[in-house]
Structures are given as structure tokens and as C-alpha cells.
Symmetry: D2
């Protein structure tokens, strides 16, 4: 591990280019705003990557040098190449942290890691959201009060199609009457995964001080604390290398030295 936590902020960067409303809020792109917020913290070393770059900016070299990846996407989930998703998944299993933001709930990488629908209810009415802290002692809640508010947000409502989280850090209350598990933690292999709900592109969510604080905290929480080398490997243990002496008995399917089936 490096001295600083190396963060790569990934952004889809589509609506910022096409939609006047979004461009006004995020003239340099949402990824740039998110990166800037994180870079306020001296412990973090932040870079960005976008859909439009070769390999979406997430080459093997970039991922190998990334401790935590943040992911914002919305309209172009399907344009993300499967090979890149495979690569991200392998890095998460190997120890890289992943922070999935807002509409990223339907990204290929989040659905891949969860194995569920990741579906939810939604409404775009610019209503008020209040996020309550469920565990004030959790690393991701550090420095927050008992709750914080966003004056205008898109609503996401339960049921949220996710596996039961290892910890629910934040639950949202919406003006229109819904609730949502807005800050959820999972471990996948050696990697920590955090989903954080706020972030609709027509509101200045990523300029909010509490949102920025949650993101900084989440990156630190998700930093690797170890590594699972070659997490996809399924090694054969030859009989003569068994920890206890055994003698092979009975019929075999595999020839000595043959790889397992996948």
C-alpha cells in the first residue's frame, strides 16, 4: 500500500456533454467535481477516468494502481465493455475498494457484484431528502451529525433489490413519503463495496459538504487492508502435496496435472 490512498473517480460523462441543465451544474463533468471534493483530503491521491477514454480509462495498469474506485453512471451502463467489468470485478475480489454512486445501482459492475436486480422505485421531483445515521460509530459516518438534509433530490424508494448488507449506515426519509437504505456496505472477496444513494445530475449534490464528507470517509473505509492474490485461481493440490499423508484411492476423472473445468 502506498502512503496516500489512490482513488480513481470514474464518470460516465455523457449528460454533462449533452444536457444543458447538467452542464450548468457540473461544467467540468461530475467526475471532476467528485474528484475535487475528495482531493480536499490530504490523505487521498485522486485521478479520474471516463467512459470515452480507451478501455474507459480503466486499463490494467490504472486499476493495479487504484486502491479505491468510485463509480458514477446513468444513461450509458450498456456501453461499458464486459472485459472492463471483468477486470474491475477481479480487482475488487483482490482487495480494491469500490464506491458505487446513485444511478450506478444499475451499472454492470454493481449488478455483477450483488447478483440481484439492484432495482428500486424512483421519482424526479426535486424533493427534500434527510439521511439518518444508523450507526454513529461507523467509519463512514465520522463527523456527520445524527442526520443531514439535501434540499432537492431524486427519490429512490424501497424495495431495493440487493443482498442483505453487512451494515446499513444511512437510511433516507423523503418528503414524498418513501424511505431507502442509502448507505450500504458489503464485502466481496478481499474488497469492500459501499453504495451511496445521493447524486442526481440535475442537482448540485456533489458540492454538498456532508456528501463530500461521506465520500471521503467511504474511500478511507474501503481502502485495501490486505490482498487476495489471483482471486480467480482454483488450484489443484496434488495428492503427494497433501498436508496429511494420503494415498489416492478409487477412480479419477482428471488426469494428473490436468486443470479443473470451468
Amino acid at each position: 500500500m502506498s502512503d496516500k490512498i489512490r482513488v480513481t473517480v470514474w464518470g460516465e460523462n455523457v449528460h454533462e456533454q449533452k444536457n444543458e441543465t447538467v452542464r450548468k451544474v457540473y461544467p467540468e463533468g461530475m467526475h471532476a467535481c467528485i474528484a475535487k471534493g475528495l482531493a480536499e483530503d490530504q490523505e487521498l491521491k485522486v485521478r479520474t477516468a471516463t467512459l470515452q477514454e480507451p478501455e474507459h480509462g480503466l486499463t490494467k495498469a490504472v486499476l493495479d494502481e487504484t486502491d479505491v474506485l468510485t463509480w458514477w453512471g446513468h444513461t450509458a451502463h450498456k456501453q461499458v465493455e464486459d472485459a472492463v467489468v471483468d477486470r474491475i470485478q477481479e480487482r475488487v475480489l483482490g482487495g480494491m475498494g469500490l464506491i458505487v454512486l446513485h444511478s450506478g445501482h444499475f451499472s454492470k459492475i454493481f449488478k455483477r457484484l450483488m447478483g440481484t436486480s439492484c432495482a428500486l422505485k424512483w421519482r424526479e421531483a426535486g424533493e427534500r431528502e434527510r439521511l439518518w445515521v444508523c450507526n454513529p460509530g461507523h467509519a463512514i459516518a465520522r463527523g456527520l451529525g445524527e442526520c443531514f438534509e439535501l434540499p432537492q433530490t431524486e427519490m429512490y424508494g424501497e424495495p431495493f433489490g440487493i443482498p442483505n448488507p453487512d451494515e446499513v449506515v444511512l437510511v433516507s426519509w423523503f418528503e414524498g413519503g418513501e424511505v431507502f437504505r442509502s448507505g450500504c456496505c458489503w464485502r466481496r472477496g478481499a474488497g469492500q463495496v459501499f453504495y451511496f444513494r445521493p447524486g442526481h445530475e440535475t442537482y448540485p449534490i456533489y458540492y454538498d459538504q456532508n456528501v463530500k464528507l461521506v465520500l471521503k470517509n467511504a474511500v478511507k473505509w474501503a481502502r485495501p487492508e490486505g490482498a487476495w492474490a489471483e482471486p480467480l485461481k482454483a488450484p489443484n493440490v496434488p495428492t503427494e502435496q497433501a498436508r496429511e499423508k494420503i494415498v489416492a484411492k478409487g477412480p479419477s476423472l482428471h488426469k494428473p496435472g490436468q486443470q479443473g473445468f470451468r
Copy 2:
């Protein structure tokens, strides 16, 4: 729910056709043997399906009439069509139980639902395995003693690349010195998933009384206790239908009635 639990036993049915050793152990195919074991229980109504059938025998109609699906595959995981995997996943999220057997740890459907590598160590030496019950009061352990033995098995060893199970019902001890979480439970959407380790095709594992008992118990445990209709849907809630009266404020990305992005 029907009176009887409707079980579909899926078998890859490849080695039984090609490999003399396997054919001798399972002359009618492994799926037939597994189905026969389950059918001993009067509460279960059992059918089979195999890779070679159209749509692998798992049409929408078959899955809609299936309460619990059991899955054995090994050498032909890649031949399972993605469209069928999608369909199974949707049914699991909707409430169908899934029992994944032995080398099925590398099946597309199990990897899909887990989101992890599902990798493990292995050795084919016909060694002794002893499966210990970790929760004697669990539905899947009903009728078992404190442990049971299989005289000849393929070894699977930790680390097993899975998300933390909701419950570990069985842990294996191997003659050669390894251990393995051999009976693991997860919930995905409305569906219960159970992974059960034993089942190598060159040994008569599925004739074993304790193995048969675990399978019967697991099917009953995994039966649907409810249903999540259309689990993939992500419905918009129009502002005027919000549970609390709200007035839409600020800019919008979506036009009224527009679907969300996926």
C-alpha cells in the same frame, strides 16, 4: 403454492454419456439418481431437465412451475445459454429456491448470484470426508447426527470465494488435511440459495443416505414462502401519486412518463 413442493433436478448429463467410470456409477445419469432420492419424500414432486434438451429443459413454463431447482454441472458450464441463466436468476429473485451441487460452484447461475469468484482448492484422491453440523437446529440438518462421513470424495478446500453466507450449516474435514464450508445458505431477492459440496461423479455420493437427507431437507428449506412479482422492475412513482403531497421543484432529466435508464 401447490400442495407438493415442485422440484426440477437439472443435470449436465455429459460425463455420464462419455466416461465409462461415471456411467457405471450413474447408468441413468446423475440427475436421475438425484431425482429418485428426492422422490422418496412424499411431499416432493420431482422432474428432471438436462443440458441437451431445448432451452436446457428450463423453459419459462417449466421454471414457472418449479418451486425449487437443483443444479449439477461440471464440464459444460460454458454451454449453458446466457438467456437461460437470466431466466433462472429472475425466478430465484422472484422466490424460486436453488440448490447448487458440488462442481456447480463454477456454474454461470451460481457465479451470477454470488458475484464472487466461487473458486476453491481441489484434489481428486478418493479420500475420506467428514461433514460436521454447525447448527443442529437448522432445517437442513434435521435428522442428521453430529456429523456424517463419505468414504471417498474429491476434496474441496478453503479459501472458497463466496460472499459471507447467511448461515453455514456444514463444514467438512478432509483426510488430506483441508477444511471447507460445505453447506452454505444465502437469500437473493425472495429466493433461498443453498450450496452443498459433496457430489463428485466418480463416486456414488448421491446414493448416500445422509446426502439424500440433506437434499430433501434443503429442498424443503428453499421452498418459496412468498413471491416477489416482477423483481427486475424499477417503477417510476409520478409526483402526483406520491404518498405525501409534494410539488415538483427544479430541473428534471426525465420527461413525464419516461422510463428510467438501465
Copy 3:
């Protein structure tokens, strides 16, 4: 297991006797109302027990014949004898289901089984509560719509001092701006535990159709599906009874046949 699920509804039965407001809402006691609601279901066989009875009505004989115990208490938690709490805990670990209601979050038995503070925020303002279903396919949500409302409730707010639930079935939205994990599942030993938030004694909560439905569903979900006999036992396995032949080596602390320390 008996044909019918045997439910014991436990009630503290104090405010009903002392407080005019509560007596008007529940003239026969809250336990009687809860029992009546459950007894509408033909699959359930319901009895009651109260604080004032000898051993609080929860003798060993009663608990042995109880499949699921429901618990409502508020002002007299400290009057529940520790010996009875011990007995309930042992029965839960052995397989009995436990449904803890509303202010029962501070009962001895719930705090005992959780190991945490079980604390929460609260406000008694008769405000509106809306309970959202987080998993429409869960057994406890069967027959509910996407949400249901209670016109007047006491508010309970996060943070709720509990271990991460195995599943969160319901999350509440409150008129005053808070949220709460209102329907939570855990397993302790062989027993299923469900916490259900609504139930303040000055409002007619237990007459509500949706509340009654949740309670019926919860009792069925929590019914024993197996048993862990003598869950507190920590048996010694003599060397000569080891599953694999071993020879005792080195110094010992215990003499042959001696019990372990507790």
C-alpha cells in the same frame, strides 16, 4: 412439531390496569387483543401469559409446549425474573421462535439475545407512520401491499442499537421526519427472532388489519423447523472416542471425565 403452531402471547399487563387511556383502548389487556388477532388464523393455537402469573406464566412446561412466543412489555421490564429470562433464552436457542413487539426492544430477553444497547430515539406525538416493505417476497410480508400506514403512532427513530439484522423486512417513515428499521430478523441458535416496531399502548395499533397480518406471518416464519437439543451443553469428547485415532500427548489441565469450566 404439532399440527398447529402453538403460540404464547406474553403481555406485561400493567398499563392496562393502571392507566385509563390504555384501558379504554385495550379493556381486556393488550395480550388478549394480540391473541385474538392471531387466533383468527386457523393454523395457530394461541394462549396468553402475563407478568402477574407465577413464573410470569412461562413455566418450563408452558415454554416446552410453545412454538413461538410473542413479547410485549414496557414499564416493568425490570420485574421480569432473570431465571425466566434464562429459560426463554435457552428455548430460543433450542428452536422456539420469538416475536418482540414495540417497547419490548428494552426487554431483558431482547437485550440478552442481541447483546447490544437496543436503544433508539422516541417521540409520543400521535403522528403518522408508513411502513415500507423492503423484500416483497419475504414470508413476513406476504399479503401486504408495497407499504401500509398507521394514522397515529409513537415515533421510534434511528440509530437503533442492534446487531446487523439477517434481513430488514420493513422500514418506517414518520411524519415528523425520522426513519426506523421496523421489521428485523435474526437467528439465535436454532431460533428465529423478529422485532416488529408498532404497538404503542395509547393507540389501537393491534386492531389494525396490516399489523395483525404481519404478526400472523411472523409467527409462521418463526415456527421451529428443527431443534437444537440441550443448546447450552459443552460436551467433552474423550480421546478414545475421537473420530480419527489419536494418542493423547503432552500435559493436561483437566482430569479424565472432568467437566469444562464455565
Copy 4:
């Protein structure tokens, strides 16, 4: 948080005084040996406390200055005062890490935090144990190989009466044929809890390099990453301080300003 992680190593210190075999292995007491092993790590600042000291050496002041507490006890669990157990529990909920060692599975504090029997099988035959790493990327497994061996240990066997762990880091294989979940993680409130199986007092377990490494790793993993101030508090939120404007309706049980019942 201080610069160094402040560890308090608690030891029962009874067998070391009374039993010749144990004294030979741990002439200065087991706590001294454990503390010495931890102190090899420059990031840790280590002190000890024992049963015989006033308040068992765990005054409020000591606990307030403790980031992580390790606990070894065996024959004198009952002599630990409940008031001290209360205090430790509150500190764990508030954020202090807790590492429970070997026979500490039956300590008051571990049973308190788990809520279950914490029972297990056991045999004192000096047999061989091999601990397998289930997640090579977990912070607690850092620097370990795929497994490590202890030539002589007391056996602990499943079923282990614990709530399902958040993560199982180590599973043991025993020469005599049993298995055990030997390294288990839970969160309770803001505190991380780790149970680590090895440590019988008649064998030199705590001199073992791998055991020492696990303990160092576990302490770092369990260090507070935040704090839950006053975790036992259940604050009333007065109607006029509700986040959304509400008007109190209907009858009340509590008078304004009255505390909730416990």
C-alpha cells in the same frame, strides 16, 4: 484516536499461579506473554490488567484509554464482576475493539455480546491443529500463508453456539477429526469483536509466530474507526423539535420531559 493503538491485555491469571504445568509454560503469566508478543509491533502501545486487581484492572479510566481489549479467561469467569462486564460492553458499543481468546468463549463479556450459548465440543489431547485462511485478503490474515499448524492444541469442535459471524477468517482442522470456526468477526454497535480459538494454557501457543501475527493483525483490524458517544442513551425528541413540523395528536402515556421506561 492516539498515534499508537492502545491495547489492554486482560488475563485471568489463575492457573499460572496454581498449576505447575501452566506456570512452567507461562512463568510471568499468560497476559505478560501475550502483551510481549503484541508489543513487538511498534504501532501498538500495550498494557496488562488481571482479575486480581481492583475492578479487575479495568476501571473506567483504563477502558477510556483502551482502543482494543484482549480477553483470556478460563476457570474464573464467574468471578468477573457484572459491573465491570457492563462497563466493557458499553465501551465496545461505543467503539472499543475486543479480541476474545480461546476459553474466553465462555466469558461473561463474550456471552453478553453474542446472546447465544457460545458452547462447543472439546478434548484435551495435545493433538495437531491446522488453521486454514478462508479470506486471504482479510486484514486479520495479512502475512499468513494458506494455513498454519500448531503441533499441540486442545480441540474445540462444532457446533459453536454463536450468531452467524460477519466473516469467518479461519477454520480449523483437527487431527482427531473435528473442525471449528476459529477466527470469527462481528460488529456490536461501533465496536469490532474478533474471536480467536487457539490458546490453551498447557501448551506454548502464545509464543507461536503465526498466533502472534494473528493477534497483531486482529488488534489493528479492531481499532476504533469512529465512536458512538453514549451508546446506551434513548433520547426523547420533543414534538416541537421534530425535523418536520408536526402537531401532537391523541392521548399520551408520558408527560412532557419524562424519561422513557427501561
